[in-house]
């Protein structure tokens, strides 16, 4: 006996909340992609818990697809960040459109 599934959902929800906070409150593009990774990992935790809750392997299959999509997403995202850095010389999301970095 491990724990009720609702506690797994609470853990995944708190992890998702942290990833969302990291995505919304940072301006560094690398930290924003890092927040996306945390959110994807939280959903994978929820799916693996669901696979155990209903004793069915579909949840684990979805989790493996989430990991593959995360790998594709992070490679494209970091490639775009390097492209933006070469073009504008910065990875600050507030500095990309204008030449001068807007400091509020």
């Amino acid at each position: 006996m491990i724990v009720p599934y609702s506690q797994v959902l609470v853990l995944a929800g708190l992890l998702f909340l942290m990833g969302m906070f990291c995505l919304l409150s940072r301006r560094n593009l690398i930290m924003m992609v890092l927040g996306l990774e945390i959110m994807l990992n939280a959903s994978a935790v929820a799916f693996v818990g669901a696979a155990l809750r209903w004793q069915h392997l579909d949840g684990q299959a979805v989790a493996i697809f989430i990991i593959a999509v995360a790998a594709a997403e992070v490679s494209i995202g970091l490639g775009l960040i390097v492209w933006i850095y070469r073009r504008t010389g910065t990875v600050d999301a507030g500095c990309i459109e204008s030449d001068a970095c807007r400091i509020d």
Partner: protein, 175 residues
């Protein structure tokens, strides 16, 4: 309280603490290292939930490949003086607002859940069983995912060759 539930609570505290430290670091190398700890905790959690193949993949892909890629990028780009202020004021309020609404919904869902579900029994799926299930029932999704990875590879190659518009002249490249 069995040994499994004790392990679950320990791992949950480890994951949440290391993630919370990671998202508040100014130094990005520290953030990536703390996230590696968090992903190791997630891998142990997957093992506890009876998914040994996913636990191995989590260590290999998430903690290994993806985080090392982040470390490469952090070390490749120069970013002095960028993280002077952790939370820009213009973004601080909307971020807190959205996260507050999300947290309120989470708390309301927890409070309103009165069904007394029994704890989940421990079970494990052998990697061979899981692999056979995956390739029998989800073979089309596997093909689509492999196509997605191929497209990502081609896209990253195209982005990397392009050099962002500021292409150096040929003579400089040749030297």
């Amino acid at each position: 309280m069995t040994i499994y539930s004790t392990l679950f609570y320990l791992l949950a505290v480890l994951i949440l603490a290391s993630t919370a430290i990671a998202v508040t670091r100014r130094n990005m190398v520290h953030a990536v290292i703390y996230l590696v700890i968090s992903f190791f905790g997630s891998a142990l959690l997957f093992y506890l939930f009876g998914a040994p193949l996913l636990a191995a993949l989590e260590v290999i892909i998430y903690a290994g490949a993806i985080m090392i890629l982040f470390l490469f990028i952090v070390m490749m780009l120069r970013m002095e003086g960028l993280e002077d202020r952790l939370f820009p004021l213009k973004q601080w309020l909307p971020a807190v607002g959205v996260c507050f609404v999300y947290g309120m919904v989470l708390v309301m869902l927890i409070v309103s859940d009165t069904t007394d579900a029994p704890p989940m029994p421990a079970a494990a799926a052998a990697p061979a069983t899981f692999g056979q299930f995956l390739f029998q029932r989800h073979w089309l999704a596997i093909e689509i995912v492999s196509m997605l990875l191929l497209i990502a590879l081609v896209g990253v190659l195209r982005l990397g060759r392009d050099a962002g518009g500021k292409t150096r002249p040929e003579s400089e490249v040749a030297q």
